[in-house]
Amino acid sequence: MNVEHERALHLRNTLHRPQIVIDVPWRTYGLLARAIFFVLTCVGLGAVRQLFELFGVPAPGLFLGLAALGLAEYLIRDRRWFWTGIEEALWLGGTVAMVSELPRSGRAESLLVIAAACGIPGWRVRNPLFGAVAAAFVTAYFEKRFDLGVVAALALAAIAVLALLRTWQRPSNEWLWILIALLLPAVGRFYADGDWRNVTIALYLLFGLSVLALAIVKRHHALFFSGGIALAIAAGDVIALANAPLELMLAIAGGLLLMGSWITARLLRDRRTGFVTTPSKFTAFDDELEVAATISLPQQDFDQRMESGGEFGGAGATGKY
């Protein structure tokens, strides 16, 4: 898909005005349909791979990979399918299947091979999530090889943040940097050792505050969220270190967040330019995601696990009385 087509598709999705015809000469699907097609194709590929092994086909991953890549290329070139989820799953499944045929060395460099197995399909089908996952495997390599996972993750996230300051022509490039900026601070936290807790907090604080400052100047949602994630991680580590009751720390954090958003919303209420609070959404499913997150809270478990005789758990706690 060339730059013009990608931009036209992005414009069509942004405008939400069906009466305005914006022609994109590719078969594409919306986010939910794309995710379902992706999962169905992956399940199908997994079943075929399993079948090859059951029937004793030699090098099953290689054959499956070649077939999947061939089919994906046919769909893209001849049928003009792009961002349907199907050709994306075929490309990713195909490369992963081929990589699975390589001898297992257990060396750190194998993580770079997996990163390539995600990155190459990401580049071909212009899927930013594959690219961000590839970046996560690169940080895993740095952790295994040099014990520098946190630094590598924050460095890559910082590169992504800086990349977001320039103007990109392709929406997929913009989304690649957005996902790296959002994902890698969270990934990096998994590599943080207890011995380096204070350094980790300092690094995340520095990253978070710098990115938030940039977000205010440049007005970019991804920068707000990336900085917010880093600060939340730093706050979580501070809470873990603090010698204070957990409920008190959570209450302070929750109170600050709720009061902060209330005060900001109140201050911006009547504004019409600059920073405003006009209702807007990231995805078509923002409301549904919020409801889903609310009903999956442990709090909801509270009443349902209660039994006569006094046992209950919930709101992040499980207790017997």
């Binding site: 069906p18 349909a33 399940v43 079943a47 209450a251 958003s261 919303a265 009385y321």
Partner: protein, 307 residues
Amino acid sequence: MLSLERELQSLRATLGNAATDALIARERREIFSVYPELRICAWGGATLLATAAGILLKNNLERIGPLALALMIGAAALACYVWTWLRRTRATLADDYVVLLGALLVTADLAFVESQFHLLGDAWKHHLLILAVVHALAAYAYGSRMVLSLAIMALAGWVGFDRNRSYEDLALPAYEAAALLIAWRALDRVPPPTTNRQPPAFFSRTFEHFAANIALFGGLTLLARDEVLGGLVTLVTAAAVIAWGFRTRSEPFVLYAFVYAVIAIDALLIELLFSGEKAAMIVIALSMVGAIAGLIVLHSRFREAGR
């Protein structure tokens, strides 16, 4: 950064000057809405505070005592509701989450009170019905979909659809809960006696999504007890949900009902017609090809029906 200013300029004749200028101002970030950021912060704040309340109840029972704890959390919940009610004419988006906090505190408090004082005795499960009514009243008073979803989950729990039951026992409660939700949705759309005008369908989608998902999930759980019945019930439910999706022009119904149907068909075929790992893998591989082809056709028809 990404800017679609060039494309928007080229659409000026179609969009009109006012709309184009507004969209370009957004692209240039002269107008920048922090609504999503504030929404996530407020949601996070409310849920962290509710979690803190839950831990407070658990850790301080002996030190503070059950009555004082229950009164304290109850007073906090009431304060959230009263404060938002008094500010309702000049509410901001964060006020919705103060209401959510109040509802989460009510949930915790009511369960705590029932577990400590056994006010309902053997009928303790009815506290879920009380909770559903309290949350429903709050949802209507404040127009909150999130609080309505808490009411729906409490109601579903009251009829026995809860996560601690085994799958085999979930099917009947699931269909009871779905039927109750459909009835509730119908009541929600009845015009009030003072006017003939139908109320706005503010909550309708929430009822529909919950009813559809609970019924479809209930159908799948029936597979654990009876493969044929479970598979057929799931397929019939999925067909009804897909038809509803077409009728209301809502794509998500069509898509997720289709996924449930694929799972039901695979389970039926594997359990009844084929046995062994090879046969199962052949069924899965072929059914995925069929499912993809079927979904492409269904999706195309959905798009055509919308034109």
